[in-house]
Amino acid sequence: MSTVIEVRGLRKVYGDFVAVGGLDCTVEQGDIYGFLGPNGAGKSTSIRMMMSLITPTAGTIKLFGQPLETHREAILRRVGAIVERPDFYNYLSAQRNLELLGRLSGADVSTRSINRVLGIVGLAERATSKVKTYSHGMKQRLGIAQALLHNPDLIVLDEPTTGLDPHGMKDMRDLILALAADHKKTVFLSSHILPEVELTANRMIIINRGKAIVEGTVQDLLNAGKLRVTIGVSNAATAASVLGTAQLPHDIQIADNALIMMLERSEIAPVVQHLVQHGIAVDSVVPVRSLEEYFLTITKEAA
């Protein structure tokens, strides 16, 4: 497995404002790499630097082992990208947009080839319609099509589900998974929508204020730290006071017939045992570890 993206000490400063403050990240071949961060974290600026739209103030970007600064054209031949909004030449048809953009990428721009990628994103029937008649979701899909047309090895998607309805979001997720699984692409997926990354990425980084907070596999990051545990009980108020006197978890929320608390995995059994020993019937224990919890926790800690 080879490294597709290697970013070291990437910085972008506008006057006194530090947009990206020394980012490091590594993306391996075949990854669906989640690039997470709250709004304003520096995700889009980082992507723009990786795509040579913005000149970094400092740091290095290597794609496919080559420095972007010196091998820009050779690198971009192997990269397809949607950077932020899917903007196109609205006065041209989807087919014509792809033809012109494909020519610039050195792609096969035959009608057959264009219709093939439009078919992948489900736009074949609207190929000859002008883009100004497209919905936002259709433009997002056309964005994917233009990124795929020259058969790149790396696909960079910046907030690809923004503005999509739930069906559109699911279609996009399925498409991203298929790109990695069926077409063997490496996908760099920037998003602030956590479930999107949780459901698609295998590795991820969380950035805030232009710096990496954590990087690792999604599974490892999900298993780290505390779980949100919902314990179904017969009498929630009594159960909470039982736990309170025992100096077990203090941060307890009382819901209808349930207690909700943040616990290490190793703390779950003693808590349940304590409740049962004090005559509290426990009918369910649901530990949940969501990326959202983790994200909110870790970005709060970083702040």
Binding site: M51, E73, D87, F88, Y91, R96, R103
Partner: protein, 278 residues
């Protein structure tokens, strides 16, 4: 380069605004020719009324060449605006639409894209002048016939029929150069902003201000006047001196070429360093 140029030309000629200039000239030139055909002799008599006290004018003087000369003199009033419609939009339009992101993430050098865009806007400009030439001569000559060209400036120059055509061809070439200067200025402003209105208005404002400075006979302006491109846009008229004033013509053309080169170079530097934030 040719691929990128073809792409740029495809985009330029897919836009409605590109054809506004051709339509405007396509309407204006025949109207002027018809008006001159109907009322031209009155106009010519009025223009030469003082001279007629001392000279006799004979022959078909309000001919196709005369009208083409008058139309070419009007070039500097409306064609700059038509030129800026495209060249002012060619970069700013990408910023407005957010499509810089599409073209600058392709495996093509920015310098190639800028050069292709500049060439596309120059080609459009040349075609616009060519269209005006074709209409002026193509309609004017069959409609009004040919004849000697009487050029009335500070002196009267009468150019023989068989000596006129090459002057017009060279004159349209010079006119194209003058309009390319305007296009290059609009192209430069187009690289600085995110809306095509700005470059169009700024270029037109510069033409108006420089034209006023060129026209005001104040010693202070004597130093800057030779460097103003507006002072040289009418340089094609030297071709209608007899003999042709090659020295002045080449000087004026050189000033225009220098403006074009400066604008193109500045645009290239700006675009190569520009952070694409739209």
């Amino acid at each position: 380069m040719m691929t990128v140029l073809r792409v740029e030309l495809s985009k330029v000629f897919s836009k409605w605004r590109t054809f506004i200039g051709f339509i405007a000239i396509g309407v204006l030139v025949p109207i002027v020719i018809i008006a001159m055909g109907l009322e031209g002799n009155t106009y010519f008599s009025f223009a030469t009324q003082v001279l007629r006290q001392q000279f006799d004018f004979a022959g078909n003087l309000m001919n196709g060449y005369t009208v083409a000369y008058i139309i070419q003199g009007m070039l500097y009033i409306h064609v700059p605006f038509l030129v800026t419609l495209v060249s002012g939009d060619i970069l700013a339009g990408e910023a407005t639409a957010g499509t810089y992101r599409l073209i600058f993430t392709r495996p093509v050098r920015r310098s190639t894209v800028v050069t292709a865009k500049w060439l596309a806007s120059m080609l459009y400009t040349v075609l616009l002048v060519l269209w005006m030439a074709i209409l002026s001569m193509g309609i004017g000559i069959p409609f009004l016939g040919t004849g000697e060209l009487v050029v009335i400036r500070s002196t009267i120059t009468i150019i023989a029929v068989d000596d006129v055509l090459w002057r017009f061809l060279a004159g349209y070439g010079y006119a194209a150069l003058a309009m390319m200067t305007v296009a290059s200025i609009a192209f430069l402003f187009s690289s600085l902003v995110e809306n095509a209105i700005g470059p169009i208005m700024t270029t037109m404002a510069i033409i108006i201000v420089f034209t006023i400075i060129s026209a005001i006979d104040v010693p202070l302006f004597d130093y800057i006047r030779p460097a103003l491109f507006t002072n040289h846009m009418n340089g094609w008229r030297y071709l209608f001196d007899d003999p042709v004033n090659w020295s002045k013509l080449i000087t004026s053309a050189s000033v225009l070429v220098a403006h074009i080169a400066a604008c193109f170079t500045a645009t290239m530097i700006i675009l190569k360093r520009k952070d694409i934030l739209t």
